[in-house]
Symmetry: D2
Subunit: 464 residues, 4 copies
Amino acid sequence: MSELRSRIGGELAPAMRRFGSSVDLDRRLVDEDIAGSMAHATMLGETGILSPDAAAALVGGLKEIREEWRDGTFSPGDDFEDIHMAVEARLVEKVGPVGGALHTARSRNDQIATDLRLWMRNKLEEMDSAVTALMEAILTRVDGDGHILIPGFTHLQRGQPILLGHHLLAHIWALSRDRERLGGARSRVDACPLGSCAMAGTSFPVDRDRTATLLGFGSVMENAMDAASARDHVIETVSALAILAIHLSCMAEELVLWSSSEFGLVELDGSYASSSSIMPQKRNPDAAELVRGHSGRSTGALMGLVVLLKGLPLAYNRDLQEDRFHLYTAVDSTLICLEVLRGVYATLGIRADRYEETLVGDPSLATELADHLVSKGLPFRDAHDRVARLVARLDADGRGLDDLSPNELSTLDSDLGRAELTVLLDPREATNRKRSRGGTAPEEISRQVGLLRETLKGKTGNPE
Amino acid sequence: MSELRSRIGGELAPAMRRFGSSVDLDRRLVDEDIAGSMAHATMLGETGILSPDAAAALVGGLKEIREEWRDGTFSPGDDFEDIHMAVEARLVEKVGPVGGALHTARSRNDQIATDLRLWMRNKLEEMDSAVTALMEAILTRVDGDGHILIPGFTHLQRGQPILLGHHLLAHIWALSRDRERLGGARSRVDACPLGSCAMAGTSFPVDRDRTATLLGFGSVMENAMDAASARDHVIETVSALAILAIHLSCMAEELVLWSSSEFGLVELDGSYASSSSIMPQKRNPDAAELVRGHSGRSTGALMGLVVLLKGLPLAYNRDLQEDRFHLYTAVDSTLICLEVLRGVYATLGIRADRYEETLVGDPSLATELADHLVSKGLPFRDAHDRVARLVARLDADGRGLDDLSPNELSTLDSDLGRAELTVLLDPREATNRKRSRGGTAPEEISRQVGLLRETLKGKTGNPE
Amino acid sequence: MSELRSRIGGELAPAMRRFGSSVDLDRRLVDEDIAGSMAHATMLGETGILSPDAAAALVGGLKEIREEWRDGTFSPGDDFEDIHMAVEARLVEKVGPVGGALHTARSRNDQIATDLRLWMRNKLEEMDSAVTALMEAILTRVDGDGHILIPGFTHLQRGQPILLGHHLLAHIWALSRDRERLGGARSRVDACPLGSCAMAGTSFPVDRDRTATLLGFGSVMENAMDAASARDHVIETVSALAILAIHLSCMAEELVLWSSSEFGLVELDGSYASSSSIMPQKRNPDAAELVRGHSGRSTGALMGLVVLLKGLPLAYNRDLQEDRFHLYTAVDSTLICLEVLRGVYATLGIRADRYEETLVGDPSLATELADHLVSKGLPFRDAHDRVARLVARLDADGRGLDDLSPNELSTLDSDLGRAELTVLLDPREATNRKRSRGGTAPEEISRQVGLLRETLKGKTGNPE
Amino acid sequence: MSELRSRIGGELAPAMRRFGSSVDLDRRLVDEDIAGSMAHATMLGETGILSPDAAAALVGGLKEIREEWRDGTFSPGDDFEDIHMAVEARLVEKVGPVGGALHTARSRNDQIATDLRLWMRNKLEEMDSAVTALMEAILTRVDGDGHILIPGFTHLQRGQPILLGHHLLAHIWALSRDRERLGGARSRVDACPLGSCAMAGTSFPVDRDRTATLLGFGSVMENAMDAASARDHVIETVSALAILAIHLSCMAEELVLWSSSEFGLVELDGSYASSSSIMPQKRNPDAAELVRGHSGRSTGALMGLVVLLKGLPLAYNRDLQEDRFHLYTAVDSTLICLEVLRGVYATLGIRADRYEETLVGDPSLATELADHLVSKGLPFRDAHDRVARLVARLDADGRGLDDLSPNELSTLDSDLGRAELTVLLDPREATNRKRSRGGTAPEEISRQVGLLRETLKGKTGNPE
């Protein structure tokens, strides 16, 4: 590092050394950094900016350092300002002064931007697989348990009977949009900044297309200043993860609710639950609670990034080093949440009979009566009103819908027989009737499962 | 409203009436609400769910209400729970009890979801135009003033001389990615939830494809529960606006900086500046400061939405009504900021000569010397080090790079003549040399301008 | 306004006029602005900076404007940059050129800072009353329904039987800390910036203590630059409101949960509930859901303020105008939430018998058994383990704790008789035994009620 | 852990083990956890809940574990669910089955709440010292460099000449309010939850006052449910840190600005600056940029906490484990920022003469002229207007205020002589005249320094 500080002289204050070193943050980028340097050195040789020998020496040395890194014999410490300088120093140790030629036509600004994009590209692929795996785990439950009858809730009140598959599919569709968003972020990530140098470009005849190709980038950032300092792809990625985290918090909230004695619909497998240190009977849905709580990480990271970037003028400012702190927090949290939640769904105990009988005659079938009256020609608003008054009266008497007296029945609809009423108020029949596109009827569930399986065959969720 | 409350009875508490009414929020959705209802009524007639006469009556009544709304004779008040009920009530006044048939096979849950998507679609188009207009305004300045020489800053320190066009283009590229993100959001917005009813679908044989087509939607939401309660497209949209706001805050920060006496590069036109109530000499860059400050609105709205949606179980919960508060805040703030900033750039006074002479011999040309030494065969790190020591010595003596003594010059590079040095240290020459792809050389600026004009011809920024 | 723009000339662009005018934001501050000006004019007269006649004319004119404002005949429009200029212009209309002397030794920077602090002081008092009123409403429910037996939940699993009063008191204690935080914010708000002028103080011999006293401030801001630009008291206030909103969201969440058929513990009064437009049987806990959703407003406002203020250099920047947007959002939202929630608790239907029998023999009494074994000399961990295994076995058999066979009973504790077991497993007895300080026993509930009533007698919650 | 899982059976899934273990988070709480356990065991012995021998064994064993922890021979791993269980397990190894008696009349809920409060109390004291140290470092600069003449900025435009001391004091006063807020948070932290057990209290005759006293707490949490689950003191603390971070970001922004060539007022010492990897002349104000960027950490943590806690019902939920992630982030970031910034101020190079001559005749003296006219009897608004027009004319001619022609001078004020004008436009004289309370005059700076030194003598900044 002393080389870099020859303009300034002296040493960093100890607190500043700890504060300023990004080695801790960037240790995760060593592989990407070496890959970027290898591509850069290759291009420097190909374009004649460096001699073929020099380029070969650099590439060879970098390969060795990569091996050392992977087998643990090279480990950059906090005595370096960042991993770029640590790698370069190791390279000079290995290949001599020519190692110092690696940084020709490059700056740490475009270098770190490249490293980070390579890392993000990998992680976004990993993320896509993890989201897909969760979708598949839930789809499997739809296959096996989708027919279970439950109340559909709105306002956490029982609204209408539905099938569990209908409910679970809502989550899967939300996840499929998360995949699209992650795909959109990836398309912005997938542009190569290498060769932009500090922000002005360079006088050396670099071939930026070549390095982009060598690194597998889909495109090249068109403006050097933008390339070296843009971080909107980081906020966008973390924003997509925050939205995903909100979706996961919704699933988690439901699992917690459904695990309560009161709902009693599901039980987390012991491998995802815990007991209490004091109350011996407890089986707590810890995995779901932790996933719900982790929503604070990705959303906090999002806000941290927003605050970080607000009001910064162009171009590179040292503040940008902090982008990784927030990005890593969001990526790590999301990946573990996805994995855990997948396990939770895969092993979830579901009490298939919890609601089967409870829903017979339940007030949540009132819509069936109202819709029936509409089919007899009553305007919906009148039908709704008439049934609402009836329900209020029954409720006051502690009676259910199936306790209608013959008199009440004939007042409602003189043609409606008891047998017909029974069918009308059968919750399974009610779900079977909801055959509108996207409705809870079994055939609609099957149709959606088919569509989703089709989507999941594709490599990514993004049509872009 | 009394009709809806027949199950509950009684009146709302006055505070609750104020608190719960969404009329204030939804007044902006009346047009969309009527459009949605007209499509729904049309479909009800076409499918035979309602008689042709009934459907025609509904459509006719709705058309009249739309006229009344537009000419101000219909104005829903807080005595209605929401605008849906206000419109329905007016419809019943107009066409009689059959008005109550409008709500057949529909719920307020899918209705409001539809209204909001229609509104968002329009606003996202308006937003795309506004971003495009800002991009064009800046491009015009690149055309006219792009050749002006300024320091390129990193860490707010002078890094290397660049052209103003290079700098301004960085902002335009960022905006072009904002357009892409807004386009991505639009693709998620553009799916029709109408006909999903409360969350279970319906027993009526609705034709959801038909209403989607009538309303111009690109697709149909596939799951009724998801359709009625998903709000990730709202967070995604506000998130895209928040990222855009961060970009605008960056431009605004720079304008404030550059307007200071110390930078002295630009002066906001009087139509965007203000004076002080106490200091008569002041010309404050108010427009830029306010744009910078407005970044708090979109980002606060983003956070508000995240908090709103965290931990909500499926499906519709009344909390969701709050989505509009945050969405409107972000949309309104962004549109006015885009318009004002466009005006600021269009009228900005730029002092073309501010840096022209100042940069001659400026330390920010040190990289030129280092690169020169590299071209003579020195490894970059050594060249960097050697020049850095030289700069430190000159700085201590209060000398500039062009004050190099013959001795110092020959120590640096014995072949380097004074004339060659002068060219090397000429800031314009330095920018001309940065011809790498994306560099600050004039031809690279022209190339980018061409690319961007091509993009702006397309209707949207999104390749999706 | 033309006067102020004599340095700049020309007119504001129309978009900028809309964008920059704070009249809309500041209309809420007119009373405070006039009060501040009257105090300032009085002091200018007393110190001889203005003649007694001039001061009297200013004060007299301001009094009239205050009347006009209150009866609606004075209404500043968007053609003024802000309300200060509108009031001054009206004053000049009334008293002639001497009106222009009002702004002697004052700047809009210290003026708006003063106005805002006066407004905040009033609102913080109103807030304290509203929090107190909510505390009292819940305390009244503790008095009347505190004895109702419910499960105490952790992880939303039944933990141990408790009394409803114990649970409700937890919320009241949280609110009492909110009062303390609001009191802390008020102590920072209660310092007068008037007379600091733009940021440097003034050459006029102003008496800042006098204006502070006239306006009832507790202290004087000691540094003019700090006085004119500090906004930490605004973030602090909104932060206290955001924490309060989180507490309210917790109460609201519970009310929603408890209103579900599954929990079935409470029913929101019809005056705070709504029905569904499609499902006639619904009684939705709307008030609670909206309060929960409103947590997004105060927390979004907090985030907005943080983003607004991040990275602003000293001193006044126009960005600061935006502080009010966020402050108003948080204050308005909190006040209506407090009022509505108070009404909800005051009218809440509680099913006193919901859990009375359900909890007999409930696994949530397992801790009683374990504690009993400890009292017989077993280390707690062993007791816990032994009871946990027993519960697991009973659970597998579908038996309750009171279904223990004689054999199981004697294995557990050979001295434990059936009668003693019955007492041990009686949920009421269990709550009676929790007499530790802060426990759920009735006497502890009474003790806390006494303490809290004592606190509520004091004017503020803050011991500062 | 197997003991705790006897109800559930089986093992945790590997991903869940990693996800759920809080050992990593809680390793920082081991000292506090042992201290809490020792106080608890002591009390259990004193009250006779345990025998004196048993209590002594527990305390003795805990002391040994504390030694092992401190010398590194005890290190809880991820195979434990949390550190509480790890410590208990080690205790049982040491003292046999009686170790299992430690958890009598205690739950992990009140235990972790106690640990965290102990840790926060310590950190809040450390924080108070660190804020104080920064205040003292800046005060020292006021002493030494407070007399330096600089422009006072508003809108980043030169407003009026001030002394550097006046400006720096504004930051110190802001920090003094931060100390007050931290003190307020500490008063809420300083209440003991130990003995509340899971949330219901306990049947054992615990003496909660005794444990509170042993642990040095100022008070006892009055409600067991509140005690075990309240986290508002955590948000409050992080909120106070976020506001502090905003203040630090303001100082940092200024240091970055002032370090630019354009402002050229300060230069960060080499021990807090860095150079560029490519531009050899750079001296980047890295420390200031990183402090500015770190504002994203505390504010992100604040938002993370808000999201975490929103909508959680009472009482303990596993989500709460996440509180520490955010709290640690904010505390660690703030402490290092305070330390670094203190070093930056202590070593800052200030160019005392930067503005001394530049400000002579600067337009920022226009207020002096206007105030002079007021002293001659002109209403301020007229004086302001007259001077503004004059400045506009001079500006157009490229003249300064001291270039007034005799004619212009006499038009302005026929009595004003050239000599008097020179004094009026002398920037030092202008600052000397600002003797109003809090003004920039040297005696006001001295007065404030005296006040602040008095405050800093007190142990805390909080008058509570």
